[in-house]
Symmetry: C2
Subunit: 200 residues, 2 copies
């Protein structure tokens, strides 16, 4: 079996397996054995390539974040106007793959881990900042700068909040409704500024 060049293949298999297992069990307290089994290799090999469980988990988060970033970049490339860009970001946030119960469970586990691991925290901060600055950039074309900051903050919070509420699976809100709610928030605030501006 030992054909040369297996490293990238195994690394990817292990990272993918880790995400599956974490999503499935809803916690980072999963065993290397289980991840390795899902990836079809021995636990020892997982250690061989990643050195430690911590490192494998970090790579796993990185992978999830990279996917989200790529999707965002792709979605933004397709549209030009600021308002359309806002909609594109909202759509990506709630796209099916991100909004699946397993993925949400994994996100939650990562946020929880960020309380302990400085490196995990850093990664999630990068995500939060990116979302915020993308939103702000588009909003600044539509309203005064300080309003843009405020609305971005609110929209980002609403997105994250819809995720966490989704995780409880009681009265699930659904992709369309989540998008509508967030769009509505943005629209409502932009409109209000305009009518105020006109009225004043």
């Amino acid at each position: 079996m030992p054909k040369v060049g297996m490293e990238p293949v195994r690394r990817k298999a292990l990272v993918d397996a880790a995400l599956r297992v974490i999503g499935d069990q809803g916690t980072l307290a999963v065993t290397m054995s289980e991840i390795a089994r899902q990836a079809g290799v021995s636990p020892a090999l997982a250690h061989h390539y990643f050195g430690s469980k911590e490192q494998l988990l970090i790579e796993t988060i990185r992978s999830l974040l990279r996917q989200l970033r790529d999707d965002t970049v792709t979605a933004l490339r397709a549209v030009a106007s600021p308002r359309e860009r806002l909609s594109a970001m909202i759509r990506v946030s709630f796209q099916a793959s991100q909004f699946a119960p397993d993925t949400i469970a994994a996100w939650l586990a990562f946020y929880s881990e960020a309380q302990r691991s400085e490196e995990v925290r850093r990664l999630l901060v990068v995500y939060a900042r990116r979302l915020r600055s993308n939103l702000v950039a588009s909003l600044k074309a539509l309203c005064p700068d300080d309003d843009a900051e405020r609305i971005a903050e609110g929209a980002a919070a609403m997105i994250d909040g819809l995720y966490i509420r989704q995780s409880l699976r009681s009265a699930p809100i659904g992709i369309e409704a989540s998008i509508a709610l967030t769009e509505d928030y943005v629209t409502s605030h932009i409109d209000r500024l305009h009518s105020q501006g006109t009225a004043a």
Copy 2:
């Protein structure tokens, strides 16, 4: 030392210690030994009174939820008008004790645990439902029923989202700003309905 009637004292001490330790470490993966040490008793005694770690954790969540409910009831008793009641609920959600880093970390850990423990999930669902129905009740006095449901959903999501973003401690938002953002959301949507209603 064995004086009779220690049970309630020890139970409370253990539950309080559990919340402290969980908040501090940001995870439910804390040891009974650590909790017991913080409570000033032996690990064996914790088992004696709670039977298992799981049970102690459940009691701990219950305690946190009870506290929040009591605060809400108290706050609502003080005000009468629907709009004031909305503000009171928002204020309670972000009150200092709830919004402290340790408490937020504990909430996050509980949400994560809800992915595994049906009982924990049930408790959190109760919290979510209560918040939602309180919000809806007041909103229905201010706008049409279906709008009330939508706005309540959005406000609840925003509250939860502000919590989760606070947990990352990057660009912390602050109590006042969080309250303002949520108030703003509610106000903006109610106002818009009124102006639309007038315009149509």
